[in-house]
Amino acid sequence: MTSSPTGITYCKCLCVVICSLPTLLIPPAMRAALLIQRWYRQYVARLEMRRRCTWNIFQSIEYAGEQDQIKLYNFFGYLMDHFTPASSERNLISHIFRENNICHNVDWERYFCYKSIEVPELYSGPHLSFPITCSNAAELVEAFKNKQQLHSRYVLQLLGETWRLLRILPNISQISTCHNKEITICGDLHGHLEDLLLVFYKNGLPSSEKPYVFNGDFVDRGKDSLEILLILFSFLLVYPNDVHLNRGNHEDHIVNLRYGFTKEVLGKYRLHGKKILKLLQKIFSWLPLATVIDHKVLVLHGGISDTTDLHLISRVDRHKYVSALRPPKRKRQNRSGMTDSDLEDDDPTAKSVDSSRRRVHSLTHSSSTGTRHEVQRRSLQGLNNRVTCSVEEELKERRRQAGLSQSYGDLRNSLTNSDSDPDPDSGELLESYGDEWKQIVDMLWSDPMPQDGCVPNEVRGGGCYWGPDVTEEVLRRHNLTLLIRSHECKQEGYEFCHNRRVLTIFSASNYYEVGSNRGAYIRMGPDLVPHFIQYQANRATRALTLRQSVGRTERSALRALREKLFAHKSDLISSFQEYDPENTGLISLGHWAGAMEAVLRLGLPWRVLRSQLVGDTLDGMLDYHLWFRELAITEPNTELSNASLLETMYKHHSNLETIFRIIDTDNSGLISFEEFRQTWKLLSSHLQTEISDEAISDLAVSIDFNKDGSIDINEFMEAFRLVGGDLLQNEGDPH
């Protein structure tokens, strides 16, 4: 019992009684308190619901983008497998499938040589000397804090040294907390330099007294990915026994094409960007895959599966897996008996139509794509249907259903049955490559799920979802006690699951939007108990009220969602019209929700979102044409008359950009008109739509060409970016 200054005592067990009394009999102060408290609790609950909705929106869109990427990539792989080398479409993209260990390392060293690059007198950025010292590394941190850029000579030199070091590191780093050292573990950084700086500020720079593990996804999305890499690599070089880097799914040049890292490097280093990217490609493939602390705590980026075997993983040649999105090509014997190490120049005669490349059509599970051993010349259109249909079938609803029938057994089967190989001996080789590759993809892409079992991760398109039983089994098998992973953004920067046997750590604060989430890092001593330090790298957000912070993130999510709605306008309208056979222009809200999910497949709570997306309704009926007009998405000024082409551009913005960047083989940021045309042809095959040459020419005409007849990719993409109507709302909004 407590007593308040006004002399009223309050006994908790009487609360029900008191509340049921006629109002006038409750003392006024108590009445006031109860009223305020009730409203407060409602306020908090409503905010929580909005916050969850917003989170769902961002996450759905993020994962749908990743799915998209995989679909596109699978499509290219299919092209590679089934079209002749002479086909121009195949040639456009074949270079991204080319193996990396083409020449000996000596030749590569010569290619990456920095020595001829002069550093001009005018250069005011940091100077590095090698072997690099800890003051060099600290200087680099300061320089980047002051927004300076490291000269390309030093970049190449630093990366070269890093590459050399990584080649001698094992797949799985073993570290210990002996001498009472506390280890610091950071999760995804995604180019957020301010978060890394904040961690260093709070926790101190890496040193032999202060070991760090960085758990992957250093790049993409944020704008300072390269600076983060340079900082991490410099500390790695200074303290190779105390700084540990694990590879993430974004340490992958194919993923970088889509998510911004490639663009960032080319933008910052116009002359040497291409070389830097190539060297980074090698470095990424050489990054270790996991770290084990005191033989008890496993740290890796994505997760595990029911087949995870650390002994197997420690034996693989990890650098063969340049991109986790496809397994490496086997070295094959050509007719003269010499090993056909892939040639730099694309020699069509070396690759016969029969060369069956072992790959998996879907990263997640097998699909039937007709008789696989029929490797013949076929037209682009004919096979397209089959590819697109099977990919569509593979897409399931985001909300995980019970009793998924697809298992990894199916995947394994597809590997041995796929691409019939006339050589019986290579059957085993196929199997072992398949196993290895699957292990690596699982480590980099998987997510935990609450229910038992292990099923393909169809939301992302790679890796699997694994359950608490799999955690127990894998930990037990390897005599471990805890799994620390990253890969998923968490509101508080960290989250436990699976009976606290799995810990997710995420270090990029404000990931979806300013104010969306905190970042965190772990400190762990010899007792192996994790301690968390949370932060948010933006002074402004700390002062926001909960509602302002939720509101801001929500506005951003809704904007992104509205853009998606607009981009899918014609599909949505067709879907609405199915519910409106008499063409009244009206549909019920229930049908609206159904149609939205059917078209967008984002698994979002449309009814809950309705109040944010839909204005007035007439008796519960929505005028859908009016609704689209009210979405207030501004189209860019263009004389383009072909509306469906424009819509394709909005809907497949990222795919288009990815294809452009793939085609841009010299990474110049420019493509020719012919390449532009080929891009559209490729995209139309992938999407199974018809795009006429005339439409493409119209599109080209509506753009300003550079004088030499080339198109600047960045300019083009910017010209067709959608702009949401409420961008005018300022940040000082009190709500």
Binding site: M1, G7, L14, V16, A29, R31, Y40, Q42, T545
Partner: protein
């Protein structure tokens, strides 16, 4: 009035209201509740319910502890006591473990929706006026914080902090009409 001493365990606690005996309240019986929701409303509730569902197989179940949150998220503002009442007064440890499915949730939600005296803007302002010593439309932030943390269904310190952020002026005073608008406008 002298503050009451700590009660002897065997003594039954007495209410401070004029009523001499505690009112006997029957237990909540969900089967007696008549559902008046339209099918549209029920679909809406399902969406919100699902947003809070964290079960492995999307079983459309939430914990007892979440029931209050869902009801509030859907626009009602019951007291914690009212929530405990419709839940059948579960034990503290059951709040996190006992599950409620959607069909059981509906009568509970219906009962809360039917309750009268939800509190209007005027009631609210009236309530706060109690603390307006000077009659100038403001209350002391510190007093308000204290009341919220010690009276009624006490709020925790961080909850009070969250509610009161940016509400007090330089002198630590809160204009309560603005405050009420702020709380009611979520």
């Amino acid at each position: 009035m002298a503050p009451k001493k700590k009660e002897e365990p065997k003594e039954a606690p007495k209410p401070k209201a004029p009523e001499p005996e505690p009112v006997k309240i029957p237990e909540f019986n969900p089967t007696e509740v008549v559902l008046e929701f339209t099918p549209e409303q029920i679909e809406d509730f399902k969406d919100a319910f699902q947003l809070f569902d964290r079960t492995p197989l999307n079983e459309m179940k939430i914990t007892y502890g979440q029931c209050g949150d869902v009801i509030r998220a859907l626009g009602q503002n019951p007291t914690n006591a009212e929530i405990m009442y419709v839940l059948g007064k579960p034990k503290a440890e059951e709040m996190a473990t006992k599950m409620m499915d959607f069909d059981s949730f509906l009568p509970i939600h219906q009962h809360i929706c039917k309750a009268k005296d939800r509190g209007t803007y005027e009631d609210f302002v009236e309530g706060l006026r109690v603390f307006d010593k000077l009659g100038d439309g403001t209350v002391m932030g510190a007093e308000l914080r204290h009341v919220l943390a010690s009276l009624g269904e006490k709020m925790k310190e961080d909850e009070v902090e969250q509610l009161m952020t940016n509400q007090e002026d330089a002198n630590g005073c809160v204009n309560y009409e603005a405050f009420v608008k702020h709380v009611m406008a979520s």
